[in-house]
Symmetry: D3
Subunit: 326 residues, 6 copies
């Protein structure tokens, strides 16, 4: 891959105007309040596998609309006292996969709570998922999740997902092994976008680990990349041509730059300069708007895989320093 | 494209065993009965465009679950008496498009009723559609519609679609310009699969025009083609590996060969021998099981585009002969 | 597709220098005069299909060199008095297809005259055509039509095609159902390029509908797009490297910007901002040079499909307003 | 590439029924007689390049219809007496290229006469050509040469090409450096097909070198390969669906298996078992029908590049043995 | 992906003739004896990362030729007594990655020893590796490792790799946390091929976990798949055409079916029926020749990803049962 | 291909800063001195093929490390006195091919010495090669040659290749038919990069013919092209992320711009403006730094094939003029 976005020196200062609806905060307050009318009802079922140094729970809780959302909770065996807990949100298309996909956090002494993204998980052969999206949408859509319900913020798919993510924090905090004061939001790509929003929407989140975030600076993204999933939006706009204004209005309630502008907790971002899926300018746009303490790791030669395992180790060190202990 | 399926002489006799659930008919009786509990409430709003020899209506009616389904009704201007009406079901991904996409039938003196396939219509730039699928699904899915709700026949996407299609026949028949005794089910690919089912599920359908039908002989299709949309099923099976039996059980309620084995009215099929999307053996499997009078047009050098305009003219002639007049 | 050409604000003012041969007008006067030495000999054979509200004729007339050119003429049944007639020129590779592909115009009360592009029509499975190009060329060529005879304006393929198009206007006008004073030139892509030229070359054309025109601003096109058919030129230049000057000299007689600079009648253009086949700057170059009254519809999210059905309805409204009635 | 055609043991015996028109020989006698009514008028212009051990001539002669056909003649400098001459016919799309592309034959003491294939040579950047095909065709076509004039044997493109090839033998024989009794027809792919035909059509050809021949066993080729140029035929058949019988009738006059069945002179064939362009069964079909002495070199791991340089050395040895000396 | 190899019922019995050199066992005895002349010199350096429930060592030992080979050793923290140890060999192209990529085994109470494949690890962005292959090769090669030194078994790349793998078993056994009597060879694709060989070459290996093994049944593989890395062999054979016999002679010393025929310990295979990279018949060929107790897990809908996480859990259960405890 | 690099007017002046290690000259002096400690031992074995006007020798000599390097020497038969000799270095992936691939130079009265690039020649079906690279590398690598030993200039693959190239000049000069004072370095792509370096490293080289040179201006190349082989570097950097500085340090000893800045002899460059493999700015960077007399041929419409046969004739004329006679 070649470089294709702004030069790095411009990226470092790229802080575009934001397009934010007046009722952004009200929208989310109302949304979360409605969701909390359903009892959380988090259940933690021990998972049957021959593990000896980690406890694994098959988790379920009530997300948006009271729908059951699935996940995993892993804790290191024999830990004393409540633990920091990493909320792990998943990239586009994947399910929660297997417990053994998430062992890095308990290996470092943390709990990890993996939340499924409703509806995803049926087509990535190595990341199966089981959670459905029992809510349909009132308008036609492009295949995928990006345009499901996009003509109305109340109907938009990610309203349900971001709400699930906030409720997941609450479900994690409900488990005795978790220290509710040390919950970390994390994820890459779609998971990064969700983590970014959750770190704003739930006041109890202590920090955010945001890798190559998707769902961020939509307007620029659809103009400079031809890759999915942003292209789902372009295909919809190219088809339902009369809906452009409504589409961007809806997206403004979900745009990562608007969440970033409200970010207060420490955040560790990462970005890849040859990332055609989540172009670097869209990532820097959010990072540069983030209000709290922040760092960004730059991967100059990588595409959307971003920092991968290297970044995982960065995050272990970041948390180690932040939390004083592992 | 090369030839890749069975030789033509074997295709002509290919009539595989069918895998049919014992309660197939009950399932559909129950489904349609439930749908009919919602008032049909068909509305026909004149469409504003400067046409002079065709009447165009923007149609809406209550489909499965009472959800609003959209479509077009076109009738030739100045026709006397109720007309034969061609039900036109749409291929995978497309919406109803524009009224001018459907002028062939009124040009031949017929009405045409175009039904949108719920949820589709957001990504084919030349066939926009507006109808949503307000019902979600209880399980994860592969992108697209093929695996939406696939773990339970009651939850499966095509249960809603086939029901919409039957209700559409009733909506058409409710219009004074339409002769309810001369309704024809038609479509290509997904539309062919829907037409095939509708001609069985609604006793008032007079004949069926079934081009390169999709949703037919699933088991063979997923083993010999690597093309979408059948591959959506393979991706799901490759991911949710524990669900194979349930997936095929669900599909058996929707398999075109099971509908074909109940077909009584005259049917004009078409098949293309180089069709990698809906392989010829899956089409012959249905045709060879069809019980009523039947013909099949074979396009030896074509892929999934099938007979296209040539077949359209075949159909005009077929209807002209069947109906005595246009 | 991403945006890739000039920003919209620059496109609106993009009016490049033109490269025009001194004998441009003489060349075309001479060419048309020579063609008119052959009797037009337009024939209109009723087409056998069960249509009831449209009359269909299989048309043939003498084009350049007296070669027989084929087409369709469709008129709404029972129309009173001569009608406006839309000349429909076809995109690259297609033939005239079927009469039912062209019903929109008679549905709106117009006649439509569909002209085949000589030699095309043998490889687009849904748009078959029958007209040959009985004239060969004196030089080697790249596959396709773009470089057939390109080393000499007199030998160039599009000299024959543009002449056919002018003669087609005369053939249309020769039919009693057509009002020669209300002939409209129309087409998309190659068809748009032909319509643009014809609206200049034949003084009787009343207006032009020019969608994403091809054959326009060649020099820029070959430098910024890697898509066919413009790439046929690049392949030729990359092979016959000694011919660059002659190639561009030849093309200057056929370049849409040179025709646009002579355009006097009302023109409705359309352009797509993500069109990699006919890049937006090449379309604006022509539009901005057009001398007559003009409008341009901009499709910001579309590729070369352009406005498709949406644009068709724009055109109906444009003509309705222009002609007073349908 | 994998193996995809018949197993080798079956290929060795594959000798399919031929489909031959009754007037095959008359057709060609008449065709050649007509061509010979034009004076051959072969011209040999010394080519200006600083070569010291080879003489190079830019050649032109009257081919079919008297059209000028271009080529090269190279002879080793200082040769005594008339030399054997290798006729080199060119693969699909290429022109004659440069004299230095053909030095192998004079290096071995032979003359070489390179004939351009009319119309080709405008899109292979490394094999430019200059010869046009001044004869057009009466029917529409798919891009490329395979379907130019395909609805009538008299109008078919390869009628002109094969005739040019026979006339080229006569042009070569007309040069004093060439021994008319030791002319060899050679070529690969299209060039192999032309060589195969020429070795039959011109009685003076002494032997044939036929590599991975194209234009041979059309019926099987279009059913088992999806590669161009055979696919040009499929695209045409898929579009002009009413022409299948006429297409195959025309092709029967040009099919390499029909020429092979008349082959009398020694022939050295080559075939590649992973050749998806000219599948091995089509090559063996011709080889197995060839009547004269024959050998075939089998390249088990190669695609359409076939034996390339290895085969060139095989041919040098074959000729060395056949001709006694170089 | 479609099914493309033999039907499952034939695969179950597919047990092809083997092509085995007479000195197969001598070759390997000599090779290993030579390698053991270099001191093993295994070093285990604690790895600096904030893990709390796993011990991580950066490992180095002397492989073939005494070259330093790198890897990881992970053991669960606080384990009592020597542990079973899973040898993990890596797929084509990958390096050892990060310690956190291999946590599944310590989570289940086992040690894991990850061996790098020399020379690999420089191009899979998520699996970096550091080990070089300090030995070059005496002949030209295709890019990749498959043909490095292929003209001589002594010079062949995999001679060095298989030897490294045997020495790795000895390095693992040298660590006090490892129970030398409970070492398990494992891997997928290339790693599966290495595990298969190692379980034969080192008598101390207790069992083998062999997923979609590569390097197995070369002759069939190169004839039915067009995917890398087997295609590296085809490209070489297509280029160095005179070497076919020597290539297959060399490969016979490394062919998995020849190792399988010597397999004595319990083996758990897995195979995917839509695997175009390591076709199912090549896997069954080895499994069906394996002499010891054996099972095979069949993934009917998967490609080369095979069983992935599902298979990992199968393996945990298999080991749990085999070893009595985790 | 479109234009994608700087506009031509900027290219003409593009003369970027160079990144040159302080010991560049020492590094190469030391390297060559070490190599010369091995006896050159050039052997010239007559090649058995029926050529009559050219002498062909199968050549072998001791390159870097004393490893045997293979090649061809061709001289025109019967030449009097020692001849100018064109050193021909080969493009990435190719071997020496066949003697008949190199006949152009003896045809023009020159000798030609073709040197194989060690290790290449196993995967280009039409350019087989036999020379191995018996030296391995100490670090992991991406497939291909670009990153073999890249973490240390002493270990880097091209150190061996450039040294071979200098020794090849000496081997050529050792043959009695060659005039050591008239040796010309030439090549395209990788061969161009080698020729560029050799013309600097060996003082006896009289001139250089450098076509679309590779291995030149690495830093810019990896940022603007996504094509191999430069992408091998990007894949390595994206994987071994900690090595960026060392990689570029190593490359600085091999960068064509650093050689160009030392170029004293006449050089004929060529560049193609649509060359995505060796982008034009990287070629102009070297050309504009070249110190000696220089020309550059610009191919505006070509990709990496560059000038091909046209450029070959340019070179014949250039040498003819330079050398006074052929």
């Amino acid at each position: 891959m070649p470089l294709f976005d702004l030069p790095l020196e411009q990226l470092r200062d790229y802080r575009p105007e934001r397009d934010e609806p007046a009722d952004f905060d009200d929208f989310w307050s109302r949304t979360l309040a409605e969701a909390r009318e359903f009892p959380l009802d988090a259940t933690f079922t021990p998972y049957d596998a021959p593990y000896t140094n980690v406890e694994v729970y098959d988790v379920s809780f009530a997300g948006w609309g009271g729908h059951r959302i699935n996940g995993w909770l892993l804790t290191p065996s024999g830990a004393e006292g409540p633990l920091p807990c990493v909320m792990h949100y998943i990239g586009y298309g994947g399910g929660r996969g297997f417990p053994h996909d998430h062992l890095i956090w308990p290996a470092a002494g943390h709990a990890v709570f993996v939340m499924e993204t409703r509806g995803h998980g049926g087509a990535q052969t190595q990341s199966p998922g089981v959670t459905g999206d029992p809510h349909g949408s009132a308008s036609s859509q492009a295949p995928g999740m990006m345009t499901r319900g996009i003509l109305d913020p109340d109907d938009y798919y990610y309203r349900r997902v971001f709400t699930d993510a906030v409720r997941a924090v609450e479900a994690a905090a409900a488990h005795p092994a978790v220290d509710a004061g040390r919950v970390i939001a994390s994820g890459a790509s779609q998971g990064g976008g969700i983590a970014q929003a959750t770190a704003v929407l739930h006041p109890g989140v202590r920090a955010a680990l945001i890798d190559v975030p998707f769902l961020t600076h939509f307007r620029r993204a659809v103009e400079i990349t031809d890759r999915d999933p942003y292209q789902e939006l372009v295909r919809f706009l190219a088809t339902r041509r009369d809906t452009t204004d409504q589409v961007f209005t809806t997206l403004s309630y979900f745009d990562g730059v608007n969440f970033a502008a409200r970010g207060q907790v420490p955040a560790l971002y990462s970005v890849a300069l040859m990332d055609f899926v989540c172009p670097p300018s869209t990532v820097f746009a959010a990072h540069n708007h983030w209000q709290g303490p922040k760092e960004i790791t730059i991967w100059p030669w990588n595409g959307h895989e971003g920092g991968s395992g290297y970044q995982r180790e960065e995050q272990l060190r970041f948390l180690h320093k932040l939390l004083g202990d592992g």
